[in-house]
């Protein structure tokens, strides 16, 4: 009897769910195929499948094809896709290749539309200031996860040596001295070529460049009459260096032509200012001595991480993603006493307690504001523009993915399947599992230094590899004591002057355009 009853209940439950699906299917008028070509990262395949499953429950006629690609060769693949005539892929990380804005869906078209997956507009589903990036009004990229560059330290070593987390750069130098005297390598940070291009040293260069160039926003912001001037935003904006979020792209528009003009003319924006002299003099008090000596120049991220986890180094500069990595490493250390690196080699280490502190602020000549850090969205999502109908479909899927429901499904599934998060999600209402949330609890948000083009010139002319190489070599010779600070800064300015025209050519900005920064550049 009981069996019969259970069977009946089961059948009723199945029928109800089937009816529910039918009613949703009848209610949905969306159909078509969306192809996702994001990079495959740990846990993301299952996470995407769960999101697609939930989306298909609402829109069963939409075929979402999951075609994740490995990181190896992704840049080449994305470039090929971008230049092919009828690419299948829709959503991908096109910023890995040389994409053109004109070929991408402009998310700005949809941001203020009502979202079917929340009570408000799409833009109201997330923290706009974090998600949106771009200048001159281009919004082809959205990212829903944040990360922050921060300092991490081994609490046991700090207690043993009797030092505390520094708040200023001078305090950092003092802490390094004590740690060094106690036989520790004070700082673990990569110092090889890649570090100056896109990792550790490039972060520090940009972060501290920001401290001495905050007022540049007054020069490069869109002014009345500019092609990208938005009276609702730029008309009410006021410069306030006390507010670390004052120059967010949602609060003030940067005019790319004014940026290039300022750099080209070299009157308001230079690489050999007293402020930058303060910054690089401060760097030399720490590097390379406290980061491994001359060996630092061959230290990559793996080697610096090893030094930190092996207890040889007391502090490490890294991104927020390292917090979840630390949790997993400690679990491994507890279980086996070692972790295996990418090559399958054992790296032994001891369990320790992780502490974090924000960027120590610099003081001295030319400092305009308190230090900020790189607090940026990670994993930019872009989509190829096709027909309007198709674009609307892709935008609908993006709205679902970036809703509280969609993002919660994605995050939960990803973390359960070995994935990692780099920091809190920008999507409102998304909660992480308790242990992950606790790990990010003490992370202090101090504002983003990396906005538009504001600080990227601190590491050479962006997108021009030769300029980056010269910047690395000048830094190397400066830190090795082969050239003085003045020579190093003079070379940085010369580097800018030499390679800026290459960037202008790539950006489609001509000398004529510079003469009329209010006009949209045409590059001829």
């Amino acid at each position: 009897m009981a069996k019969k009853l259970w069977s009946m209940l089961l059948i009723i439950a199945m029928l109800m769910s089937a009816f529910a699906m039918t009613s949703v299917a009848e209610g949905s008028d969306l159909s078509g195929t969306i192809t996702i070509g994001m990079q495959a990262r740990p846990g993301t395949e299952i996470a995407w499948k769960e999101v697609i499953k939930a989306y298909n429950a609402i829109h069963p006629n939409v075929n979402v094809v999951l075609d994740l690609k490995p990181a190896e060769g992704y840049a080449e693949w994305i470039s090929t896709v971008t230049h092919s005539e009828n690419p299948q892929v829709d959503i991908a990380e096109f910023d890995w290749g040389d994409y053109t804005s004109a070929k991408m869906i402009d998310w700005a078209d949809y941001l203020d539309m009502d979202s079917p997956y929340s009570d408000g507009t799409w833009a109201e589903q997330f923290d706009e200031s974090g998600v949106l990036s771009g200048i001159s009004g281009n919004l082809e990229k959205v990212s829903f996860f944040s990360t922050q560059v921060m300092w991490m330290y081994n609490k046991e070593i700090f207690e043993k040596v009797g030092v505390e987390a520094p708040k200023t750069w001078d305090e950092l130098v003092a802490v390094c001295e004590k740690l060094y005297a106690a036989g520790y390598q004070p700082i673990a940070i990569d110092g090889n070529y890649e570090s100056y291009a896109s990792m550790g040293m490039s972060w520090l260069a940009q972060i501290y460049n920001d401290q001495v160039s905050r007022s540049l926003i007054n020069v490069i912001r869109a002014q009345e009459g500019d092609f990208c001037y938005d009276p609702d935003i730029d008309g009410v904006w006021e410069y306030n260096p006390e507010d670390p979020w004052n120059d967010d792209v949602t609060k003030v528009t940067q005019n790319l032509v004014r940026i290039v003009k300022a750099l080209y003319e070299g009157e308001t924006w230079r690489m050999d200012t007293p402020g930058l002299k303060t910054v690089w003099s401060n760097f030399a008090k720490v590097f390379p001595k406290y980061a491994g000596g001359e060996a630092w120049f061959a230290t990559d991220t793996e080697a610096s991480g090893n030094a930190f986890y092996q207890g040889k180094a007391a502090m490490m500069v890294n991104g927020g993603w390292e917090i979840v990595n630390y949790m997993r490493t400690m679990e491994e250390f507890k279980a086996t006493g070692y972790i295996e690196n990418e090559n399958g080699e054992k790296v032994e280490g001891n369990v320790f307690t992780l502490g974090t502190f924000p960027m120590p602020t610099m003081e001295g000549e030319g400092i305009e504001a308190k230090v900020r850090t790189i607090e940026v969205p990670t994993i930019g999502m872009m989509a190829l523009s096709k027909s309007q109908e198709h674009n609307d479909l892709v935008a609908d899927f993006m709205m679902f993915y970036s809703s509280k429901e969609g993002m919660s499904i994605y995050v939960t599934s990803m973390l359960e399947n070995g994935g990692s998060v780099d920091g809190p999600s920008y999507v409102f209402g998304v909660e992480y599992p308790e242990n992950v949330a606790a790990a990010f609890e003490n992370v202090e948000y101090i504002g983003n230094a990396q906005k538009g083009y504001l600080n990227v010139f601190a590491k050479g002319v962006p997108l021009i590899d030769e300029s980056g190489r010269e910047f690395y070599n000048d830094c190397y010779e400066y830190f090795m004591g082969k050239i003085t600070i003045d020579e190093m800064l003079a070379r940085s300015q010369a580097n800018l002057e030499k390679y800026l025209p290459f960037l202008m050519q790539g950006l489609g900005i001509s000398e004529q355009d510079i003469q009329n920064p209010a006009n949209a550049p045409v590059g001829y």
Binding site: E294, F297, A298, S387, Q388, V522, Y524
Partner: protein, 661 residues
């Protein structure tokens, strides 16, 4: 003698005919040209044009804020410069006024007789398009602001008073047009073409489904061009009457639209400068690349006038299409005739001169005799030329140009003569590389001359063929491991944390000897040279072994009988006999060292700093990372010369020595 004179006359006749065909070809080419230049020069980057057919006056407005009127290619007036770029011109029906939309947030009305400004309307927003109604009393202005806000404003053309201001959210306008009975049409980024009231209410919408790039009113028809290259022709009721597509296989960005006065030929311009002309049957009749963004068009008389973000105004002549093929073919035939007559001239001249005739006959006879050999060799040489020599010749010529990823297309490439070679000297990387390369060459030669020779001799000296075979096999076996894998193994050996060398020192209690082998500029180059220890290269060993085996046991036995020990036998008998093999291996090692960069690329990428750069690595970076192809070609030439000269000198010396011996 008489025959020679006839041949000479035939040669002269051929030359005259060839010259005549050149002129004929030029005539046909000119007549076949579908596009001609008006000769108008504005001195700026042109954005908008319109024209007065009756007075034959052409008005051109530029991105730089200038507006000029031209008659017979001569400027008749210039308006006062505006602060922003012009984007649209509209000539009043009585041809007395010129309405001009300016991206500097203004609309102007000019007097066409002298260019004086009649009215300035400040709009306060970015103007993207304007339209003027039938009685020209109203100007509709489309503007965009911020990321997705737009306005459709209507002004009085009499006093500039604002009559209506319709604000739209989530809409980016692309164009505005006035149609029949003052019907107002707007087009937007979503591909919607809407008939709306002056108050901004939608009456009817046509969905083009792609971003609209241009709108054009032709009679009562509204022409709309979308980003996918499709043009839609709509009647006043927004019903589709005609549709076609520019076949944009080159993926250019569609930008501008034009149509001739008969509404037959459609002109589609692109941002890259390509122009596609389609006929009434939607067939492509003409495609041309003008290398600069095509910004605006205007139909006048029999032609479509067009301009671009450069200083030109050209005319496309649809009336020439009919004879275009015939004239093009005649042009081609003229060119072929020029070639044939030129050939005839050469042949007759050779025949007319006895000495030349004799020598030429001799050459052709020889070729004919061995015709089969030449025929069989031909494919090899063709392939060799296509895949090897062509690249070399291209490199030789491109080394003197600015060829790069930024100036990639032939149109952008310019001769900069010796600038690339000068840059090699100015750029420190190549010269530092030469110093490192010298070290590598010296040590590579030492490595080739020592260990493989010693091992070859030891195996040769063994007794028993089986034993010899096993040892030879074991020594040669590692050759199957790819070189890249070998280098990556060494990278792990040098690893400061988990590497074999540092761990060995730790076990031995020699922590002070531990180093970051590839990260210390003082030792990085030595670490690179040490890769491959104990330097047992299989190929040199086999060469030495083969040579030692060929010397013959009788020579060695004779030396032994004469009382020479193993060392003396090797030093005085075997080593001198190995000279040809040693010479060959030195040459191969030298060439290999000059070309090798992947060891350094995989281990240090040239760092730390510039300490391990070699010229080939700098060449590789300039090709693969920096896109400086011309500069890399120049480096290739320098490297080729540096490789070729020592090798040729070495060969000459050895030949001379052989001769002396």
């Amino acid at each position: 003698m008489k025959r020679n004179s006839i041949r000479f006359i035939a040669a002269v006749l051929s030359l005259i005919l060839a010259i005549a065909c050149v002129f004929l070809g030029m005539y046909f080419e000119d007549q076949a040209a579908l596009v001609s230049d008006t000769g108008i020069i504005t001195g700026g980057r042109n954005r908008a044009i319109t024209a007065d057919e009756e007075t034959n006056t052409i008005y051109v407005a530029t991105h730089d804020g200038t507006l000029q009127a031209f008659r017979d290619d001569q400027a008749i007036w210039s308006a006062a410069p505006a602060s922003g770029p012009y984007c649209r011109l509209y000539l009043s029906k009585d041809r007395s006024k010129l309405f001009a939309a300016n991206e500097g947030q203004k609309v102007f009305i000019f007097n066409t007789s002298d260019g004086s400004m009649l009215l300035e309307i400040p709009v306060g927003r970015n103007v993207i398009d304007i339209a003027v109604n039938a009685d020209e009393s109203r100007i509709a202005v489309a503007t965009n602001t911020g990321r997705n806000k737009s306005n459709l404003l209507i002004y009085s053309s009499l006093d500039g008073e604002q009559i209506a201001n319709n604000a739209f959210k989530n809409t980016v306008l692309r164009g505005v047009e006035y149609g029949k009975d003052d019907m107002l049409f707007t087009a937007n980024k979503k591909g919607e073409i809407t008939h709306m009231t002056p108050e901004g209410e939608n009456v009817k919408t046509y969905k083009a489904n792609y971003d609209v790039v241009k709108t054009l009113m032709k009679g009562e028809s509204l022409w709309v061009l979308t980003v996918d290259g499709v043009y839609h022709v709509l009647d006043s009721n927004l019903e589709l009457t005609r549709k076609g597509r520019a076949n944009n296989e080159i993926n250019a960005y569609i930008h501008s639209l034009g149509v001739d006065n008969q509404s037959e030929y459609v002109f589609v311009g692109t941002e890259q400068g390509y122009v596609f002309i389609l006929n009434g049957d939607d067939q492509h009749v003409y495609t041309e690349d003008f290398k600069t963004q095509i910004t605006d068009t205007f139909a006048m008389d029999e032609g479509i006038y067009f301009t671009g973000l450069s200083d030109f105004v050209k005319v496309f002549h649809p009336d020439r299409i009919e004879n275009y093929k015939l004239l093009s073919n005649l042009n081609l035939i003229s060119k072929i005739a020029v070639g044939l007559f030129a050939l005839a001239f050469v042949v007759f001249m050779i025949l007319a001169i006895p000495a030349a005739r004799k020598n030429t006959a001799k050459i052709f006879k020889a070729i004919w005799k061995y015709k089969m050999a030449y025929i069989l060799l031909l494919p090899t040489f063709v392939i060799l030329f296509l895949f090897s020599y062509r690249g070399i010749f291209m490199g030789l010529t491109r080394a003197f140009t600015n060829w790069s990823s930024r100036d990639y297309y032939l149109a952008d490439i310019e001769f900069i003569w010796f600038d690339n070679f000068k840059a090699i000297i100015d750029n420190g990387y190549f010269l530092i590389g030469i110093k490192n390369l010298a070290m590598i060459i010296v040590f590579s030669i030492i490595k080739t001359l020592t260990v493989p020779l010693a091992v070859a001799w030891l195996i040769w000296a063994m007794t028993g063929d089986k034993r010899k075979y096993i040892h030879r096999f074991l020594v040669v076996l590692p050759i199957v491991i790819p070189g890249v894998v070998n280098i990556m193994i060494w990278e792990r050996i040098y690893d400061p944390t988990v590497g074999l060398i540092n761990n060995l020192f730790e076990v031995m209690g020699l922590q002070s000897w531990q180093r970051v082998w590839l990260g210390d500029s003082n030792i990085a180059m030595w670490a690179v040279i040490f890769v491959g220890f104990p330097f047992m290269a299989a190929l040199p060993m086999l060469v030495y072994y083969g040579a030692l085996s060929n010397i013959g046991s009788d020579v060695v036995e004779s030396a032994s009988i004469d009382g020479a020990g193993r060392w003396k036998t090797f030093w005085l008998i075997q080593l001198p006999l190995l000279k040809p093999q040693i010479g060959l291996l030195i040459t191969l090692t030298f060439i290999g060292s000059m070309q090798d960069f992947y060891t350094i690329y995989l281990l240090t990428m040239g760092g730390p700093g510039k300490s391990t750069y070699v010229p080939a690595l700098e060449l590789f970076f300039n090709v693969s990372k920096f896109g400086n192809y011309g500069y890399a070609s120049a480096m290739g030439i320098v490297l080729m010369v540096c490789t070729l000269v020592p090798v040729l000198i070495g060969q000459a010396i050895s030949r001379r020595k052989e001769g002396l011996e």
